[in-house]
């Protein structure tokens, strides 16, 4: 069964450094998303991406964040200058087109620790 994959599984970085989190969505899916979950809190939406552009973003997704689909398979989230409060699990998700856009399939997550 096709799966969303994410790398790395765990990323440790120093405050102020740039990080790039990588995701390979399910092939032939058209919608891509990033979510985050701070330890002990709920899963929060960051951004959605469709047709090579951002379709929706939350107030969390400020100028420090960017997303890119550099090729036909990868989907990345970049944080330009990490802060302590960026420490969280980051989940990538994808969904198909039409009625299949209803269901989002999540990856296993990247645990980001900012020191």
């Amino acid at each position: 069964e096709p799966e969303v994959t994410q790398t790395p599984s765990h990323q440790v970085t120093q405050m102020g450094q740039e990080v790039i989190l990588r995701c390979v969505p399910i092939s032939n899916h058209l919608y891509f998303y990033w979510y985050r979950q701070i330890l002990g809190q709920k899963v929060e939406f960051l951004v959605s991406f469709y047709n090579n552009e951002i379709s929706e973003k939350s107030e969390i997704f400020d100028d420090q964040f960017s997303v890119e689909r550099p090729d036909g398979s990868n989907f990345t989230l970049k944080i330009r200058s990490t802060k302590l409060e960026d420490s969280a699990m980051y989940f990538c998700a994808s969904s198909g087109g039409g009625s299949k856009a209803d269901t989002q399939y999540f990856g296993p997550g990247t645990r980001l620790t900012v020191l």
Partner: protein
């Protein structure tokens, strides 16, 4: 603003019993509602979707109801097993492709043998 409330943060039941989880929402009218399961340190896994014109949906031991008048969904797991122990999340959604999932805090179910 949209608000999603799930009945309790933790629910403890004995193996074999039926678990019932509640999701209440306010300040919007979703076209459908989804339930996801999340295990510790893992991503949410889709379980069931129910549309506003459906009263009930079943999948194996799972049953979901959707009452748009009460603005509530109930999620039932019958003949519960320890393997059902996880956090269950509800996400009401508008009928627009590719929109964000807005999750409740979830209910953590513990099934003891």
């Amino acid at each position: 603003s949209q608000k999603i409330e799930q009945n309790s943060e933790a629910l403890n039941i004995q193996e074999g019993k039926t678990a019932t989880l509640t999701c209440n929402y306010t300040n919007y009218s979703p076209a459908y509602l989804q339930w996801y399961r999340q295990d510790p340190g893992r991503g949410p896994v889709f379980l069931l979707l129910i549309r506003e014109n459906e009263k009930e949906k079943r999948k194996e031991r799972l049953k979901v109801t959707f009452d748009t008048t009460l603005k509530q969904s109930l999620f039932h797991i019958t003949a519960s097993q320890p393997a059902d122990s996880a956090t269950y999340l509800c996400a009401p959604r508008a009928n627009q492709a590719g929109t964000a999932l807005i999750f409740g805090k979830g209910t953590t179910l513990s099934v003891s043998s």
